[in-house]
């Protein structure tokens, strides 16, 4: 019998998922735990395996090897308990066109055996700015509103573990703020949150710990602060029209005229600037700042590529 109180909220144990008879490895031995109450970010480029991993966790996809547990419940052998503990916001914007917002929430709640929870449904509608849309048919809602309903559907049975698979993809600033305020509140109240997103500033601001996936493998797993401190912590930003020396170009990110170069310490900043001067590269609007999660992400991904 699983002991939910002593178990990680989510546990991945050597999870593998292959397709085409093993030729394509979507997940290649992923192992890590997420503790109860954590706000965990799962990052990675497109095709890294984030959605596959979440699909295995949610029971939408069967792992080829390995085990996944939610609050100590195996997602295959004890799927009913595992799914009751899980609220998943899917990535695709899907809805049932036959029902209103309130009907959709009551139905989703009923699937989990939870009835008569209109107070909680009202609270969800209020917190997600959906109160005035409660009786509107799903077809009448804008994309952003439908996304809010997806979030409400995931939370309607009060799961202790919440999984958000790119919940803010293509939505406006207002929804992002509303959503993050609400999710942060739920996290403070003890809910575990697993977030995948391409908006790395969101992950940096919200997540206590980050895991990075690439080609189906975990390539970084640490506290967000440690990740930021452990890699290039300084960022030089400047504008130039000239070509960069090859050594600097290799660790630079160039967007039009804007160049961003990572540096590990003050000495490296000095040598970088000295080299630019020596090569006659004109530098405008020079700024020296702290590296953010996006810089860390790119450094780790580029490092893995090399």
């Amino acid at each position: 019998m699983p002991n939910s109180a002593a178990s990680p909220a989510i546990s991945f144990e050597n999870v593998k998922k292959t397709y085409r008879g093993g030729q394509l490895k979507a997940l290649d031995g992923v192992s890590f735990d997420i503790q109860p109450g954590e706000f965990f970010g799962l990052l990675g480029p497109n095709g890294a395996g984030k959605t596959t991993l979440i699909s295995v966790l949610a029971g939408l996809t069967k792992a080829t090897e390995g085990r996944v547990r939610v609050m100590g419940h195996d997602v295959v052998d004890d799927y009913a308990a595992a799914r009751k503990a899980l609220g998943v916001v899917p990535q695709e914007l899907v809805f049932d066109p036959f029902f209103s917002v309130r009907e959709s929430l009551r139905i989703q709640s009923g699937y989990f055996g939870v009835h008569g929870n209109d107070d909680w449904i009202d609270e969800l509608l209020h917190n997600l700015g959906l109160t005035d849309k409660a009786n509107a048919n799903m077809r009448q809602l804008s994309g952003g509103m439908k996304r809010r309903v997806l979030v409400a559907q995931a939370l309607v049975h009060r799961p202790p573990v919440i999984v958000l698979d790119e919940p803010t993809a293509g939505v406006d600033v207002e929804l992002r703020q509303t959503l993050w305020q609400f999710i942060a509140r739920l996290n403070k109240e003890g809910h575990t949150v697993l977030l995948t997103t391409h908006y790395l500033e969101e992950a940096e601001a919200l997540c206590q710990r980050i895991g990075m996936l690439k080609a189906g493998r975990i390539v970084a797993l640490d506290r967000t602060s440690q990740l930021l401190a452990g890699t290039a912590s300084t960022m030089l930003r400047f504008k130039t029209d000239a070509a960069l020396p090859p050594e600097i170009a290799a660790r630079a990110r160039v967007t039009g005229r804007i160049v961003q170069v990572t540096a590990h310490d003050a000495h490296e900043v000095e040598t970088t600037l000295a080299e630019l001067r020596a090569k006659g590269v004109p530098v405008e609007d020079l700024e020296i700042g702290r590296a953010d999660l996006e810089d860390v992400f790119l450094e780790i991904m580029q490092g893995e590529a090399a």
Binding site: S55, A58, G59, L60, T61, K62, Y79, A80, A81, R83, K84, L86, V88, P90, E92, V94, F95, D96, P97, F98, F99, E103, I107, Q108, G110, Y111, F112, G113, H115, Q153
Partner: protein, 251 residues
């Protein structure tokens, strides 16, 4: 079973919200059949000594409507959910394969009964068929609708696009229904086709159902009951096995 009941209720609501299309339209179609076939064949075809052709036709049309609509309910609901992607809401739940089965097939039976009751209520005034044994009527209605709801569930799981489902419906279900003795007694057929008809489980559903009205049938109602029950058990076993495997719904 609370979750299963919610899914059942949702499936019933789904067709009830578009009842004009899912209930009224099939009733009108059945009435058209009755008017055309009844008017043209009433004086030319005699199936049983004591039963007029229009009377004979009514239970057949009722049962045909029950069967086709039970199939349509589970199959169309599943394929729509698969194609629009909202099946994910169900896949994320703790509902067991048995709960899926009970809910989808239960709702299909309800739609079949609703349409069948509608067809009977409208057509009975043309030539009241009488009622010999209500139990046979109920048993074959529920069992037949259950079998067709189950076949609809299997077809909905199997099909990946509407075209495949339409093929299943038009090339398998529709011919088997039409060639089951809805419009004629199979005893009027040449011996080869009579033998073929006896291989068609739809024949037993309609013949047994008709027995409940007239007290006469082409074969024993007990034989019909046994064939329909075994067919249902086989189809239910297959559907449950597919659901347990997550056939074409969990990758």
């Amino acid at each position: 079973m609370k979750g299963a009941f919610t899914l059942f209720k949702k499936e019933v609501l789904r067709f009830w919200k578009v009842a004009f299309q899912t209930v009224c339209a099939p009733v009108l179609t059945a009435v058209m059949y009755l008017l055309v076939f009844g008017h043209t064949l009433e004086d030319h075809v005699k199936v049983y000594e004591t039963v007029g052709y229009t009377q004979f036709l009514i239970p057949g049309l009722v049962m045909m409507s029950v069967l086709q609509n039970a199939f349509a309910n589970s199959s169309s609901s599943l394929i729509q959910s698969k194609i629009t992607g909202n099946l994910v809401f169900l896949l994320l739940t703790p509902l067991s394969p048995a709960a899926w089965f009970v809910a989808y097939v239960g709702a299909a039976v309800v739609r079949g009964l609703a349409v069948g009751a509608g067809v009977l209520a409208v057509t009975v005034w043309f030539a009241p068929p009488g009622l010999d044994n209500l139990l046979w009527v109920l048993a074959f209605t529920v069992l037949g609708a259950g079998l067709m709801g189950t076949l609809g569930l299997i077809a909905g799981l199997w099909a990946e696009k509407f075209d495949q489902l339409a093929a299943f419906q038009n090339f398998i279900i529709m011919p088997m229904t039409f060639l089951s003795g809805v419009f004629y007694s199979v005893h009027s057929l040449p011996s080869f086709w009579l033998g073929v008809s006896h291989l068609n489980p739809f024949f037993y559903m309609i013949d047994g159902f008709r027995r409940g009205f007239f007290g006469v049938s082409d074969v024993s109602p007990w034989l019909s009951f046994a064939v329909v029950s075994v067919s249902f058990a086989v189809a239910a076993g297959l559907a449950l096995s597919l659901l347990k495997r997550g056939y074409k719904i969990r990758s």
